[in-house]
Every structure is written in C-alpha cells, then in structure tokens.
C-alpha cells in the first residue's frame, strides 16, 4: 500500500510470541506475523478466538514483549507503554472508583495536561462524542455495560494518541447502538486522522470499518490473507447490505471456516 521509502506508522516485523504455561508447557500464540499500518489508516483484524489478536495488540502497546521479531512505531522500537499508542481493551476496564468524567480525564490528569477545568471540558467533548450525556457524575457501577465501554473509548481518545488499538471495542453493545458507534468510530477516525487498528469478531464490522481486513489463522496465529475493501468513505448504511460487503463476507467466511489452510 504505502509508497516507496515511506516508513509505516506501525511496523510489525516477524513477531512470534510464546507463553510458558504450567500445563501445556510452551504455547505459541503468534508465529511470524508481519504487518504494516500506514499513518491515518484504519485496519481491521479478524480471526478465530484464541488466535492471538489481543496478544498482538498488547505487544504493539508495549505491554507484552515479543519472543522474537520487532515492532516499530513511528520508526522507533516500542519499549514499554507510551501514551501516543492508545488501547481500548476487550475486557474494557474503567476505574470503578472514578465517575464517568473522572475516568475520561484520567490520562490528562496523569500527564498534568491543562487545568482541571480544561481537562473536564475536553472530557465532556469526548463523552459527547461517544453519545454519553448527563452521566458525568455516575460511577461505573451505575452504568450499563455498553455505557462503560463507551466511557472506555472516550477515555482513550481523550489522551489524543496517534495510534488507537481497539480490541473488540463494540463487543458488549446492542446491535442498534453498535451500528451508531461504528459510524462514530469512522467519523472520529476521519476527523482526527488517527491511525486505527481494530480487532473484531464480526466480519461485517471488520469490512464496514476497515480500509483493509486482515485475516488470521487459528493458533498459532499467522496472517493468512489481507483484503482491501473497495468502498469509499464516508460509508453509508446502504453499503452494509450492498454487494461489496456481501461478497467479501462470503469470501472471508469461507477462508476462516477452512481453518487457515490458505
């Protein structure tokens, strides 16, 4: 995709990851994964459960160390977490002792960005962006699962990272909200120009959100194929049911069912 000589914003080179387990000994979660995501791209990753999608994101975020291979972000090796690489976890966790607003200001507060009032203003903007109004003072226990997930999305975007890793960010919202939030994610992506790498279990979602869809094999996860999605942005509701999505869906589904023989 990228033109000659251009360094990808996220460059994953030959990553393998083993885990030591008591029961099964050495488990290989990922094997020889190469991936390049360009600045401003939105890319979906899809693959069977347990194929190492989360593990891959954790390594890009600097939370886990690859067993071999290397990961570059903006041309420099990742060593440890960095606020310029944001991540929204599959097991989305917001701080239960902080209200929705306090959760969203967390990153700004830790890095002492702006005054408290400015931080609150920024946080409200992002809460508004994910469609949460009038719940600023609520504790997580007073929010639904979908609301918490949206707070988590706002919390990560409020830190203004260059790269956003999303691990099934819309996993626990109902299908109606899910479609709205998909459009929100696309709108935020277009407005902010951020690079987004998104893991999902839904083939339709992967196609609808991605410029490219990367398909992984069962464990040990490898990238078995990559599809580019020939649909323009902004994407519309009509495209969801259109022929491009339908055809790609059939093709990806067959590939996954086949089990990654490729």
């Amino acid at each position: 995709m990228g033109s000659e000589g251009l360094i990808a914003q996220v460059q994953v080179e030959g990553i393998t990851k083993h885990f030591e387990t008591k029961r099964e000994g050495k488990v290989t979660a990922l094997r020889a994964v190469d991936l390049a995501v360009q600045n401003g791209e939105i890319v979906s990753i899809i693959g069977p459960s347990g194929c190492g999608k989360s593990t891959l994101l954790y390594m890009i975020a600097g939370l886990l160390v690859p067993s071999s291979g290397r990961i570059l972000v903006d041309g420099s090796p990742v060593n440890g977490p960095d606020p310029k690489i944001g991540i929204i976890f599959q097991e989305f966790r917001i701080f239960p002792w902080r209200t929705a607003l306090e959760n969203v200001v967390f990153g700004l507060e830790m890095r002492r960005i702006g005054t408290a009032a400015e931080r609150a203003r920024i946080a409200r903007k992002y809460l508004h962006m994910v469609g949460l109004e009038g719940i600023d003072e609520r504790l997580p226990k007073e929010l639904s699962g979908g609301m918490k997930q949206r707070v988590a999305i706002a919390q990560t975007f409020a830190c203004d990272p260059e790269v956003v890793l999303m691990d099934e960010p819309l996993g626990s919202v109902d299908s109606l909200t899910r479609e709205t939030l998909q459009d929100e994610v696309l709108r935020i992506w277009q407005e902010s120009g951020k690079t987004i790498l998104l893991v999902t279990h839904s083939i339709e979602e992967a196609i609808y959100l991605g410029q490219r869809v990367i398909v992984m094999s069962p464990r040990p996860g490898r990238i078995i194929r990559e599809f580019s999605v020939p649909l323009p942005f902004p994407r519309s509701a009509a495209m969801r049911t259109g022929p491009v999505v339908a055809d790609l869906r059939t093709e990806i589904w067959a590939l996954i069912r086949e089990g990654g023989g490729a």
């Binding site: 954790y58 975020a61 600097g62 939370l63 440890g80 977490p81 960095d82 606020p83 690489i85 944001g86 991540i87 976890f89 097991e91 989305f92 966790r93 917001i94 701080f95 239960p96 002792w97 902080r98 967390f106 990153g107 830790m110 890095r111 504790l139 997580p140 226990k141 919390q155 990560t156 830190c159």
Partner: protein, 248 residues
C-alpha cells in the same frame, strides 16, 4: 431506624440478664443486675470516663502506628520483589503468634509505661493491615494497571492512584480487623500492668469485689468496641461507595 431494630437480640440478652439477676437465680457477686451495673456506671461516671479516655488513647495510638507501618510494608511487599521475598515468610510466620506473648519482652525493652503497651497494640494492628494491603494490591486487575500505564501514569501515580484505591476494600477490611485486635490488646495490657484504663478498672473492681463496677466496665468496653466498629463500617461504606456490592 431499621439498623436499630436489627439490634434486638442485644436487648433480649439484657432483659434476660436483668430478670435472672432480679429473680435471685445467681449470686449478685457473680452477676449483679444490669440496672445495678448501670447505676454503678452513673455513680462512677467520672472515674470510668477517665479510664475510657486512657484506653481509647492507647488503642488509637497503637492502631494508627501499627496500621501506618502495616500499610507501608504491605505496599512495599506488593510492589517490590525483594521486599516480598524477604518479608512474606516473616509475616506469615509471625502473624499466627499470639501477640500477647510479646508483652513481657516489650516491657523489658520499653519499660512498664505507655511505650510497651502502645507497641503491643501496634504489633497486633500491624499484621492484618499489612497482609490485607499486600493481598489486595497483588490482586489488582491487570487491565486496570495496563489501562493506567498506557495512559501515561508513572510508577508513583500507578501506586497511589490505581493500586491503593483498587485495594481499598481489602485494606479497609484489614483496618477493621486491626481495630478489633487493638481493643483486645489494650484491655489485656491494662489488666496486666496499668493503674488506669478500662482493663485495669475491670480487673481492679473484680479484685475488690465491686461486681457492679466490673460489669459497668465490661459494658463500657463492649459499647465502645461496637461503636468504633460501626463507625469504621460507616466510613468504609462511604470510602468504598464505588464497589459494586450492597454490603461490605
């Protein structure tokens, strides 16, 4: 109001006590009536209030000292591998030791005055707080920590703004247990060597056959312990109001 109604078993016990004493079922030297004990409480109000103040002073001095050290040690154990591997076996070995066994030793070191008593109470309060802080912080959800780290939290912020609040329900439970121990050892120490405090008053009135005063002292100790525990429970509910449960 509902809270008070739940306490009816206490009222039942007090009524049975009163009736048993009045019916002459027991020697008043063993068991004076509840009302007689309360009269003794009122009559010796000044004396008992002074004793209560001494006891509370010792209990809280020891509790604050022991709990603070426990908090710091527990945090260090959860945070630093070296502290963990050094302190964990020591704490595990010493925790089950009845702390009162250390009292003679502490008296030799620190004298018969306040220092040895406060030290004994502090030692007893230390363990539950240290152990609970350690366990609570060890058990903090990995994703909460990861979430904080990817959002730019430094080591100190991670500790104070994430691990400590996340472990607060545990820490608080430890504090509540420690408070119970502190009261227990205050009374025990006062019974052994003191010339004031409720523990002293109870043992002294027993020796001088003032059963009513002895019972008044016991009732006072029980009431204070109960009140402080309730206070902590209330404080806990407010401090940990974010917890996704109805009770703690």
């Amino acid at each position: 109001m509902k809270g008070f109604l739940k306490l009816y078993p206490i009222a039942v016990v007090l009524i049975v006590w009163e009736m048993a004493a009045r019916a002459g079922l027991v020697d008043p030297l063993f068991l004076p009536s509840f009302s007689a004990s309360m009269q003794a409480l009122v009559a010796n109000y000044q004396l008992l209030a002074t004793d209560a103040a001494y006891s509370l002073g010792r209990a809280f001095a020891g509790l604050i000292l022991g709990a603070s050290v426990g908090l710091i040690i527990g945090m260090a154990m959860a945070r630093y591998r070296a502290a963990e591997s050094f302190l964990d076996p020591l704490v595990a070995a010493l925790f089950p030791t009845p702390k009162l066994a250390l009292f003679p030793l502490l008296m030799v070191w620190l004298g018969l005055g306040e220092a040895s008593k406060v030290a004994l109470i502090a030692v007893s309060a230390f363990f539950p707080v240290a152990i609970n802080t350690y366990a609570g912080m060890r058990g903090v959800d990995r994703f909460l920590i990861w979430n904080a780290r990817t959002k730019g939290a430094n080591a100190l912020q991670l500790l104070m703004r994430v691990m400590v609040p996340a472990a607060m329900p545990f820490i608080f439970t430890g504090l509540r247990v420690a408070t119970g121990y502190a009261f227990l050892l205050t009374v025990a120490a006062e019974m052994l060597t003191a010339n004031n405090g409720l523990g002293f008053r109870i043992i002294y009135s027993q020796r001088t056959f003032e059963a009513e005063t002895m019972y008044a002292g016991i009732v006072l100790v029980a009431t204070l312990g109960f009140a402080v525990d309730r206070l902590l429970g209330w404080l806990g509910r407010h401090l940990i109001a974010w917890q996704d449960t109805e009770t703690i």
